[in-house]
């Protein structure tokens, strides 16, 4: 099977759909079922739904288009067949005897919400806010891959500086992997800005702080 890779389009309506919401664990923590080939013509590739991938969900509030920003902070595989120890019905010419529910195997992704932003008429992101999103998402809401350009805009403040004002919440929601989510976002941002950008040094310090804290928390440094 070949998948044609589309050039990155930054219009929010043209972004790749990664999956749909199936449940939530808290106001900030949603579970998304990743689309498979059977669900979508263009299913997300493994590197398009990787750990640390920024995502967004389009939401209309009082008629205004908004984006609720999030990040994949966890993944989980579901296989209903797992743990079955009964007699195998598979034959030598048939790798697996799969009466029906092989298609029920699926990949779930945990998405933590980061903030919100408004959508311009051109379908671009504006007015990023790193405050706690007030709205609740719904089951079947579509989660899209957030292109780099939008991710970058979301992380810029008015003064042209970078911001991760959600850092405290993501560290909390992300649990043991919280710091890795942040480091992954930092890594993405680092590649989006020029090497000479003054923000690189800010990223250095923030990254150092988070790494150090993570190492301390995990007992590497005491």
């Amino acid at each position: 099977m070949t998948i044609e890779t589309q050039p990155e389009d930054t219009h929010v309506d043209n972004c790749l759909a990664l999956g749909s919401i199936v449940s939530s664990n808290s106001h900030l923590d949603y579970t998304v079922e990743i689309y498979k080939e059977t669900d979508r013509e263009r299913a997300p590739q493994i590197d398009e739904r990787e750990f640390g991938q920024p995502v967004f969900i389009q939401k209309s509030v009082s008629g205004e288009p908004y984006l609720v920003m999030g990040v994949i902070y966890n993944t989980q595989l579901v296989d209903p067949d797992q743990g079955r120890t009964g007699p195998r019905l598979a034959q030598s010419d048939q790798g697996q005897f799969t009466p029906g529910y092989i298609e029920e195997r699926t990949t779930l992704a945990g998405v933590a919400l980061l903030g919100t932003a408004r959508v311009t008429e051109d379908g671009l992101l504006t007015d990023p806010s790193h405050e706690l999103p007030r709205w609740t998402l719904e089951v079947d809401d579509i989660v899209c891959q957030c292109p780099d350009e939008l991710t970058k805009t979301f992380h810029m403040n008015d003064e042209g500086g970078l911001q991760f004002a959600y850092a405290d919440r993501i560290l909390n929601v992300g649990g043991p992997l919280g710091s890795d989510v942040l480091l992954s976002i930092i890594g993405r941002l680092r590649s989006m800005i020029a090497d000479t950008d003054k923000n690189q040094r800010v990223l250095d310090v923030v990254e150092q702080n988070i790494t150090w804290q993570a190492h301390t928390d995990r007992g590497v440094i005491r």
Binding site: E159, G161, F164, A167, R201, V202, Q208, N209
Partner: protein, 557 residues
Amino acid sequence: MASPHRSGGDSMNDRSDVIGAVSGPGDNPNEFLFVTPEDQAVKTGEFITYTVTVEGESRDVFARVTNREQIRGLPDTFLADPAVAPETIAATLGVPHDDTDLYQLTAMVIGYYDTMMSTFANPRQLPQTGTPLRIAPAEQLEAVLPNLGVDSTTADVTERDGLAHTGWLLNRPTGEVNIRMPIDEFASTHLAILASTGSGKSYTGGVLIEEMMLPSSRAALLIFDPHGEYDTLSEMQTHSAFEGDDGYQPDVVYFDEDRLRIRISELELGDIMAILDNPSDRMQERLAGGWRAMQNKDSRTWGVDELVEQMYTMYGEDDSSVGGLEWRLRRSIQRNELFQPEANVPLDEIVAAGQCTVLNMETLDSRNQQLIATVLLRRIYRERLNAMRGRESDIECPVFALFEEGHRFAPGSGSAPSIGILRTITSEGRKFGFGIGIISQRPSKIDQDVLSQCGTQITMKIRNPTDQEAIKKSVEAAGEDVLRELPGLTPGQAVLSGDAMNTPALVQIRKRLTDHGAGSLSATEQWSETYDRQQSQPVRSEPADFGGGESTGFEEL
């Protein structure tokens, strides 16, 4: 939520001048802690007040801020890259950083001003948590910090007579809280100005001299000046600030080496012994006999010749000890122009109200300086004793004598003839109106008995640990918090403590009205000037002209 009416008895309506609130007691029984946000820049050493009710009366208690610690602020890890401001990191991570710093300050209770006792009284109770604290008002501090005996904390002391305007509180803007020390207090219970070289001790001495010579005080001052540093004081004679309504203008009299004489009969046996070269026991015994005999005579104008003749009469012409004594006496006393059978420094010429006499002892060696001081102090003390006992006296008014390089006159180790009389005056002079001021850069080298009797201290920058230790041991009022300040002071800043103050205060010494004469030489400037001059003078044998520098001893170079 906490009640807006916390303890402390203060309502919410006027809290605009509140700089912080008490957070609890400190380590020490007189200490409390308080918290203040970043924008309230309360410095260490600042005086703050709070109100307590003592025996039914509301009292303003003064306290001094002694320490400052940050209790909330950005973490050190935000400082990892010097090129990136920590605020930028905070903004990036969404950490609040504007006006979020919190400081915990330690304050030491001084007490409320007890108008009955005219000093601070400790309320023996720490302020309760939440008590609002305010910066102490300038007028109140002016009235209660120096020992002025005011009968109310709101008394106006700016127009009072007999006060020495020494400077202003260092923590406040220039001239906001002026410190005026009562001259009567330090002139009777003695004064010590202790500071390392170059931190302004002579300058401070100059300021006090000026204050004492103002028309409102008209002191009788005597300055023992081993370095000739006080020659600019003569400006007081023409300066308008020293002009009194009644035509008063201070008299500044300089006594140079050629007018400094000691009449031999004024010396005591001990002084002679100290001058003589290693006399044997027998010689000492012979000298004592001869000396006593001479003292018993009516004539007070005898010299070495008469003394030697007296000893030969008493012990025989061929007494070898007297022979040895004669040789020693002639060498040490007769050949020293300082000692004269008749000439003397007339006391009425050096001590008078409204007169500042500078004894310029620059060219004398230190032994002679000590002897001059010894004999003069002894004579003045005797006259003051007479005056106080109603006997005829040459000195009718109290005297204040200031010793520059005080460790020369009262050294802690070795012998100096002047120590005895200085100890006597510092311990008893108060009763007879004879005050002493000691200026020194080596407190550790001053006789501890003399230093500990100096009731008022002006201490400036001192880094040497031995000297700090000496101050700690001998200066009662020097608490730990005063000592801690000493290494950090810059020239012109001083800690005033002791009898003239109700509590120690950190002060910026005021500017002198007259010029300061004791600054360091600018060696490089003078070298290049001299070099230029030498180059322009073709004849090398001509003596180099060093110009009229203010300082000493050029002519002899």
